[in-house]
Structures are given as structure tokens and as C-alpha cells.
Amino acid sequence: MLAQPGGSFARIKAMRDEDVQSLLRRRCFATAFELLLDRYQEKVFRFVYSILKETGRAEEVTQDIFLKLWQVLPDYDGRASLSTWLYTITRNTALSALRAESYRKTQPIEGCDPPGANWEAGLRHLEINQLVRRLPEAQQQVITLFYLQDRSVEDVAQMLDLPEGTVKSHLHRARQALADMVRS
């Protein structure tokens, strides 16, 4: 039985991937899955959202990813870290979904705020999103994920399978380029 959302926050914070690996070695798959879900569901969802750029579809694909994880969890051999393994599944599944449905053609215009949002803030967001879209693809992806993942360079590096130094380099170049665009 899966736990309800918002389970013990302290438990999630205290849990490490090693604890999950220990559960997997003891073949406690249901508990391990529940802990992985608590720990990674938001991160995986935001990662998928950064690729698909549509909340409803990103949630569906996040479900697909955890369903796949539930099926293959008994096959986890511990060679890659759990997060690397999960992010690889996430990246492949989200990119397949993107390719299959040609989401690039139908993605909503970024920067459009939900109804009721303040007009001035909406304009500000639209401007900055337009500037971000003028960045090279890799810089766009890194800077978007960085802010989606609560400014964690480590998470972005794991998700994109890049060294942290490369992520920082993309971030710095993106910030420099954005500053140049604003000044010009």
C-alpha cells in the first residue's frame, strides 16, 4: 500500500539512498518503492516538466516512470547510484514522450500566467522567459532546471548526467549572456 502524499517530512529528510539500497538487498521492495516515491516524486516531476513544459502531461509521464520503476526495482543491481538510475529512466522516458507526441510543436507559450495572475508580473515573466529562450539549448535546459530544482547544482548535474563543473559553467555563461541581452 502506498503512503499518502506529505508523509513524514522528517523521515524523508533523514532517509538516504543507502537506506533504500539496504531495503532492496533485503527484498523489501514495497517499502523501498514508497521511500523512493517520497524522496524523488517532486524532483522527477520537475525534471519531466522541464522537458515537456506541460504540467498535466508531465504528471502522466511521472506516473509512467514510477510504474516502470516499480516493475524493474527487483532488477536493481547497485552498480549505478539509485538517483543516477532513476534519472536515467526519467530522461529516457520523458524524451521518448517528447518525441512520440511532438510536444515541441504544441507546447504552450511560456510565460503565460494562470488566470488571475497580476499583469505586471506576467509581463516581467514573459520578458525573462523570452530572454531565456534566446540562450543556446544546453544553457536553457541547465538554467531552467537549476531554478526548478531549488537552485541545486548537484541535482541538475545528476539529472543531466553532467559534471557539476559543466553545470556551473553553463549557468555562468547563461547569466553572462542574459546580462548582455538586458544591457543591449
Binding site: M1, L2, A3, Q4, P5, L37, Q41, E42, F45, R46, Y49, T55, A58, E59, T62, Q63, F66, L67, W70, Q71, G111, A121, R124, H125, I128, N129, V132, I143, T144, Y147, L148, Q149, D150, R151, V153, K168, L171, H172, R175, Q176, L178, A179, V182, R183
Partner: protein
């Protein structure tokens, strides 16, 4: 610390990678250099705007319930994966046994021929199952 290094460190500060000593050096340089002070203000504003504009979406309250339902559906799979293999093995053993009892041939010949036929049939079954699985994927 010169202007180039200051601006590099300033950019690093947004990734949370600047020590207290570097921070004080940065602040000292910025207080004396109008160009770097302007760069610092611009980057702070950019950081704030990016943080506001790239807001993280939230999963809906039905996410776990939906996932739970899909997992429950998977659990209702009628047969375990190994069942066709077991059924084949048992069926072959029974058929070979009856043939050995009833056919007017030497038992080693029946067992040999029966084993060969069973192996060929198993290979064919494996190929068919594999083809069906690829089709459903």
C-alpha cells in the same frame, strides 16, 4: 581581486559556492568599483526574476491515487512469467512417458526422440513469446 575575478566569484555566489572570506573580498571590491557594483545589481535582479519566472509546478493531489490504481492493475496479471515454461516441461514429460509405455520401440529411442521434439517445441515457444512481447512493447 580584480574586476574579472570579482565578476566570476559573483556568478559563483548564485550557485552557493563562495566562502565567507571570498564574500568579504567581493563586498570590498564592489564597494570601491562602480562597474562591478552595477554588474552585481544586474545579476541580483536577474536571479530574482529567474526565480519568479521559473516557478516549480506541483503534482496534483490525485497523483499517488492514480499511480496506486495503475500498480494494482499491474498486480492483477493472471499468470506468472515462468508458468508457460513449467507447463511445457510437465506436458512434454507426460507425453514422452506415455509414448515410452505405448509405442513398440526401444525406450532410449523414444526418450531421445521425445527430448529432441520437446526441445524444438520449447525453442519455438520461446521465439513466439519473445515476438509477442516485442509487439506489445
Amino acid at each position: 581581486m580584480d574586476c574579472r575575478e570579482t565578476q566570476e566569484r559573483l556568478l559563483e555566489s548564485f550557485d552557493g559556492a563562495v566562502s565567507p572570506l571570498e564574500k568579504s573580498q567581493l563586498e570590498r571590491h564592489i564597494s570601491e568599483c562602480p562597474g562591478c557594483a552595477q554588474f552585481a545589481v544586474l545579476q541580483s535582479q536577474l536571479d530574482l526574476r529567474l526565480h519568479e519566472a521559473i516557478a516549480a509546478p506541483q503534482l496534483s493531489s490525485g497523483f499517488r491515487v492514480g499511480l496506486q490504481a495503475r500498480i494494482a492493475q499491474q498486480r492483477r496479471e493472471p499468470w506468472p512469467d515462468w508458468l508457460p515454461d513449467l507447463a511445457h516441461l510437465a506436458g512434454s514429460a507426460v507425453a514422452i512417458g506415455w509414448c515410452a509405455l505405448l509405442l513398440p520401440l526401444p525406450v532410449p529411442v523414444v526418450l531421445g526422440a521425445g527430448g529432441l521434439v520437446a526441445f524444438l517445441a520449447y525453442s519455438l515457444q520461446t521465439l513466439l513469446v519473445s515476438a509477442l512481447e516485442q509487439k506489445t512493447d
